[in-house]
Structure formats: structure tokens, C-alpha cells
């Protein structure tokens, strides 16, 4: 586990969570995050800024405390001035991990972007601080953030609005409540708009633990959908009218479940219970339909 201040800086874990993670009966994701941060030695900061609920920070403080985290500090950023406050920034300089709650990712991003707090988040993560975010807190991690969109499996022109996120992750667009809210189409549409972009769609109660080596491990009860757009071709946006399907080819799609390991750098599956369908070679062109 990486600690800040090491000479050879190693990035901390980045842990987007698809929302609605189990906090009581079987909190595998949050327990794992506490462990990654150092368990009883861990100091975790909670950023409740995305949420409109006044007590969301206290609730997570209680959960993390119950999971054995050594110390929890709430950072109640309610203005951009708060994001420059030395007392908060000093916390960010010290903590082992940061947790961003759900709520509204636009609110979270607009409050933090280009502030000293956001710079600390990215800078300290580059040097070993771990950062998790659920729902809106997951969406806000990427550079190109899904601000809003419509549901449906088919990508359609205009179905997603992108905005600037915190930039912990670039080239990967993150979406949450993924299968529950039928968001494949909007994630495909977002990926198609980003050169060599890729997408990570997280089901509820499901997390991607992305390690320093860009290996993603799935934790939780749902699945993680990876959209590898590195060979994607799509129809020119100016030829597609609003609401019409966006033609695209060459997308590689992976649906990963708990325990699967996937390298986001070269888009390869490292380990899983996945079995190859090995039934000889693919038929010739002429035999394709017969």
C-alpha cells in the first residue's frame, strides 16, 4: 500500500463506485476501501459536497468508523472559498484517503474545479493518497464528466451532456447506476465523442478498484461494463440528427463481475472466472450463415 512522501511516487487507488453501495449488512466495498487506506491507521476525509443532505457526511463518518478506520474528518466544502481554506487543505495534505459522496456531480465539480482543494486531490493521489467516490462522486472523477443524459441502450445524438470533471482520470468516462438506470447508450455516446476514449459503467453496489498499475478489480454485487473505444469509428456528428441513433463500429465491450481483473492501459483481461468458448476455428466467410 502506498503512503505519501515516498521517494518513488506511486499513485493511490482510484475507486469509483456505482452508487447505492451496501453500508450496513455487507459493506464489502467500503470495508475494502478502509483496508486499502490502512485500516485502523487510516485517516479518511469525507467530502459531502455533491449531496444536498446535511447529514450525509455524518452518516459516512459513522460507517467508516464502524468499519475500523482510525480517524474520519468531514470536509464540508460549501463554497469555492471553503476550497481554499487552510484548515481544510491541511487535512487533505495528511489523509490516507478521500471519499466523495453521491448527489449532483455538477454541483461537486463546479464547487471544486480549479481550487486548491481539487489540486490537492489530484496531486496527493498521484503520490499515493487513495480516493473513492460513489454515484456523483464517481462521475466527477473523470476529465470529461457526464453531467446528465437520457436512458436507453442505443447511443443517440444529443443524449448525453458532458462537462468538465475533476480530472483524476482522463480518457475514461465514468457512469454509475449503470444497468439500473439503463445507461449504456449515453456512455457509448460519450465515449464516441472522445479520441481513443473508453468508458466505465458501474452498477449499483459495485466498485472498480483501480490500482497504481491501472489494473481494475471489480468488487461488489453487480457488474462493471468496460467500453473500449480505441478502435471505434462513429458516424460524423453533423450527419446525425438529434435523437437519432449514432452509428458506431469497432467497440469492444466487456462485462466484468466480482473478482475480475482488467488492465485499463492495454485493455486486457488479466484474471477471471471467464472461460473461452473454444469450439474450433471461426467458420469461413462463405459458411457464415449456413
Amino acid at each position: 500500500m502506498m503512503r505519501p512522501g515516498r521517494k518513488n511516487a506511486t499513485r493511490g487507488f482510484i475507486v469509483p463506485i456505482g452508487g447505492a453501495e451496501n453500508r450496513v449488512q455487507n459493506p464489502v466495498i467500503l470495508r475494502r476501501f478502509v483496508k486499502v487506506c490502512g485500516g485502523a491507521r487510516a485517516h479518511i476525509a469525507v467530502i459531502p459536497t455533491a449531496s444536498s443532505l446535511d447529514d450525509i457526511g455524518d452518516r459516512y463518518e459513522s460507517v467508516f468508523s464502524g468499519l475500523g478506520a482510525g480517524r474520519i474528518t468531514i470536509l464540508p466544502f460549501k463554497s469555492r472559498a471553503d476550497c481554499e481554506s487552510p484548515k481544510y487543505l491541511e487535512v487533505l495534505d495528511r489523509v490516507d484517503g478521500v471519499f466523495m459522496t453521491g448527489g449532483d456531480q455538477v454541483r461537486l465539480a463546479e464547487m471544486l474545479i480549479d481550487t486548491s482543494a481539487a489540486q490537492r486531490l489530484c496531486g496527493r493521489n498521484m503520490h499515493g493518497m487513495h480516493i473513492a467516490g460513489t454515484s456523483a462522486g464517481a462521475s466527477a472523477m473523470s476529465s470529461a464528466m457526464i453531467a446528465s443524459g437520457t436512458s436507453g441502450a442505443t447511443p443517440r445524438a444529443g443524449m448525453v451532456d458532458l462537462a468538465m470533471g475533476l480530472g483524476l482520470v482522463s480518457r475514461f468516462v465514468i457512469d454509475q447506476h449503470f444497468s439500473q438506470r439503463d445507461r449504456l447508450g449515453r456512455l457509448l455516446t460519450a465515449v464516441a465523442s472522445i479520441p481513443f476514449g473508453a468508458g466505465i459503467g458501474l452498477d449499483e453496489d459495485t466498485a472498480a478498484f483501480i490500482g497504481p498499475d491501472d489494473t481494475l478489480e471489480v468488487v461488489g454485487s453487480g457488474s462493471v461494463t468496460i467500453i473500449d473505444g480505441s478502435n471505434l469509428r462513429n458516424s460524423p456528428a453533423d450527419l446525425t440528427r438529434h435523437g437519432e441513433p449514432v452509428g458506431l463500429t469497432g467497440v469492444r465491450l466487456h462485462i466484468l463481475t466480482e473478482g475480475n481483473l482488467y488492465n485499463l492501459g492495454n485493455h486486457t483481461l488479466l484474471h477471471s472466472g471467464l472461460a473461452a468458448k473454444s469450439h474450433g476455428t471461426v467458420g469461413s466467410n462463405a459458411a457464415a450463415l449456413t
Copy 2:
């Protein structure tokens, strides 16, 4: 255009349609089918067997007549004995094209499979007779037919029931009302169960005109989703509990719109308005997230 009786037999077109095709204002799909069959010279048989509506055959007779087809014959197979009736089989020996209506694909398949009528359909199609089917009539074309299933974008164990179809197309599972009824998950689940399988998901008012050379052309207002499972790996079925997500990797996904041409034999896009996202080379592993 291929005609029956040629010495060098060439397969006729196979035209699955996603249901709810426009029949009145802008019947591009049905007009194209009439044209493929020979226009004013075309003799088209309508098989209304999937439907529980008594007048569905008459309705299509009227539509095809209005589109200029030379002659239309309804083949009202209501029993397996009907499917052995010489007067009906003689029609199948003569027609240029057959159209199968929507309704219930299980009803259609159970009535026809292993009858002389079904043998005629496949045999004559191999020698140039064209065959189209909408909704249930499209589903029934494949060997492994989706009999029923649940909606959702994520593949889940047990979400699809397969049954035997007419076998005009093998290795390709066909699904319809695709984005309208959110059927990506069930098609992925079906494809994952078939060695080197592939899937064709048809939106409403959208058809795949599959030519003798296995080139698929999209016609209509929606999109055609191709799932190329030739490199698919999936989680062992015995490790996945009913209703849980099926892990799978290596799926290639294509969403095609009108005018796109795609070769089903070697899974390549032949022509389209699709533009490559050409923005330099893909970043290195180390730079993947930064």
C-alpha cells in the same frame, strides 16, 4: 437479383425486420422487399401463422399490392397438416419471396419446424427465393431462436429462453423491437451460449437486407446492433446464479444505421458514413489514466 432455377444456385435475400415497420406513409422496407423480389413480376407469399389476428394476411396483401407486387398469395398454415398440403407447397415452389408476419415466434416455429413447408422455405431460399420476416417472423429465422426473455442491457443468467427456430440462419441469433424493448442483455446472454455465435438486434421499422454474399445492409429508421461473439469469453454458466450478471469479455459491438454495409462472414464494415476517430496513436499503458 437471383431467380430460382439458375444452374449456379445463389441464395436469396434474408430480410429480418425489427417489427412495427412503416406500412403506409414511408414503407421503405416493404417497398425494398417487393423490389428485391421482382416488383411487378414478383409473386410473394405471406405466412401469417405467428399472428393471432385473422386479418393480418389480408393487411399485408393489401400493402404489398399497393407497393406494386405482381401477385400475393396468403398461406394460412393453421396446423402442421396444413404445412404438408400440396396446394400450399406448390405455391412455395413458385413464389419469388415469402413474408412472415409478427406475432409469436414459438407458435410459428412449432407449427412449421420439420414440415415440408419449412424444408421448402430453406431449400428454395438456398436457390434464390427471398424471405423476409418481421418481429416474431424475424426471430424465427435463426436456428437458435429467442423464445422469450427479460429486458435490460446487462446480460444475466437465465434472462433468455432459447428454442429451435427455422434455421434459415445459423450462428446468428436475431432479436427484434431491440432498443424499444431494451433487449441488449438478452441478446448478449443468448450469444454467449452459442459457440462463435453472433447476434443481430433489430430496432423497430428497421431491417437487415442480408444478401447472398452475407453482406448486410441496413434499411429503415432505427439501428441494427451487431454483436460479434467470435472472440467472446464468458463466465462458466455453472458459476453464475440465476439473475446475476454474466461476465463476458471480448465482445465486439457495432451499431449500424441506414446505408451501412456489414459483412457477416468476416465481421467487417464495408461502407458507411462512419468516420475513424483519427487523433494519433493510442497512449501507452503507463499513460492510460493520466
